[in-house]
Amino acid sequence: MEIARVASVMADAGAAPSGDVASVLIEAQDDASVYESVGAGANGVEKLATGFFSATVRGEQARKLIDNPNVRRIETKKESTPHLSAVQPEIRLTGAGGARTVTEDGSGVLIGVIDTGFDLSHPAFRDSSGKLRVAGLLDQTNGNREFTTAQLETGWANGSNPGSDENGHGTHVASIAGGTRFHNLEGVAPKAKFLLVKTDFRNTANAVVWTFQKAGAAPCAVNMSLGHHFGPHDGTTSEERLQESLTGPGKIIVVSAGNERDDNIHIGSRFTAGSSQEAVFNILRRQNQTPGVALTAWYSQSDVFEGALITPAGQTLPLPAIGFTDRFPGSTQIEISRRLYPLGNLVQVQIVIDLPFNAPPLALRNWKLRFNCTQASVGRLDSWFGNSGFAVFHDSPFVERARTVGMVATGKGCLAVASHIDRVTWDSDGGDQQSNLVIGQISPFSSVGPSRDGRQKPEISAPGQFVSAALAKGSNLAGLTQRADNANRVLTIEGTSMSAPVMTGVVALMLQKKSTLTLADIRTILQNTARRDANAPTWDPNFGFGKVDVAAAIAAIGMTISVGAPTS
């Protein structure tokens, strides 16, 4: 049977088991198992990611791989047809024959990217002469170390690889905004220069400050394909207000709206005096981490709410009085606090639950939150888990898709970008892939507006579904057989993380045309030029002002711009 499997593997690739070769993908428990079977340093063996290898093998080597108990899987690479990214025609950056519709290419503009890291060996980061297009890099995960272009060139030549991308997300994001053409793919602003921050995902405000300081007088668009839900979602947190003070002529911040549309991360409702609502939630077990969750709830200081957290064992823990925290120590630790939040004239309820690592399943399920309104003026209460992946509310009328745009995308000093579907086919190491999603619709994950305080967020939608861009070699994402095309260094993934850098690239083109454009100018232009479906309103909680149209937006810059048009 094992011999038959070897033959099958080889025949799959059109090779004979005796002496011909086949290109295969190997998934193994450890590196040694692969090298043991095919020979260390064997020609054509490439480690793609932890546990994933690409190799060219002969029949005997394939047999050894199959016999090796530490090799989980071996499969032949599938032939696939190139599917060009549909981003550029979708945003009207290219027209018939693939020619660009605008002369702007990002020259003279800086694109800041705050993300997981960057594979600067990828051709997307290098110009036609092979030189890095990166003006500087800050590594927040390595003592806030800064690297100049020369230091990056040296580091990536000698293998120290400063700012490297173990995840793969940042490399993909940056190349969408401004990658140099490779394998028929090109970023939106391929002649811009990059300022890159490998972030710790906490000091993101510092990252924006660093980027704008490095940009100096040059126009700069900063991309943040990240976010959280720990706050009031009204633009009043310190980071959101800081961004308002940082943005200005030629300094624009673009943030992904979030992927929490269907994550059951938010409850919200209007209450009348005497009404009550209850929400049930499960805490999720996370790999190698203790289960737990933090949530916040927000209501107007002019309202009066009481409420309680009810444990799976049925213990009722009432909310403390305003200004106090109740702590319940034990193997499961619970902390419930209630305090005034003067910036929004709100009351903030905060609940933190930490369970032991080996908490039984019953301890994770059927937690309850109950809110009773005893005096209603505004009468609205909203609550979010701090981020997705920690806990989920059970379906109920209290769960809302609306107001799931993340923070800091809800800030007044940035553009928040939704994602829509522009393609349903792509290629990968696993062969041609196809989805049954419908082109033109909003992506099934894209967070929904408005902000908690009713402002128009997101502002705009860009393609973020199955976006093909640079693959970081050896990264976690390189091991996704259905998404990674390792030979061509292409990765196809989706998220508002992917639509935001499309928009960042568009902003870079706009700043090239007029370097003093402000956020208000850009909002006005987008509002006037975005494509909307028939009968769509001027602003929609899914798409914002509509789908971005580069050619129209650039053309509008030459016309009269009414500065400072409000968005809410």
């Binding site: 995902f201 400050v209 990240l226 109740d326 034990g330 209630r338 701090g386």
Partner: protein, 80 residues
């Protein structure tokens, strides 16, 4: 369940180290707050923009500046 009730803060006074954004209260300057933070052992104290100071500090240190500044722990973001 045993219960302890303490004044509500948006940070833990027992924390060994927190990444925070600190905003001087009216009548107090960036310099005054930054100096107070450094004096109680805070690290990476940086005025990011007028009125916004980034720092890493213990909960005990932050308690010493809460009369002159608002303290906001920095939440963790996730890639989208």
């Amino acid at each position: 369940m045993r219960k302890e009730t303490v004044p509500a803060r948006n940070y833990s006074p027992e924390a060994a180290r927190l990444d925070v954004m600190v905003e001087p209260l009216p009548g107090h300057s960036d310099e005054e707050v930054a100096t107070a933070l450094r004096n109680c052992g805070a690290e990476s104290v940086q005025v990011l923009a007028p009125g916004f100071i980034s720092a890493q500090a213990s909960g005990a240190c932050l308690q010493q500046v809460e009369d002159i500044a608002d303290i906001h722990p920095k939440p963790d973001s996730q890639p989208h």
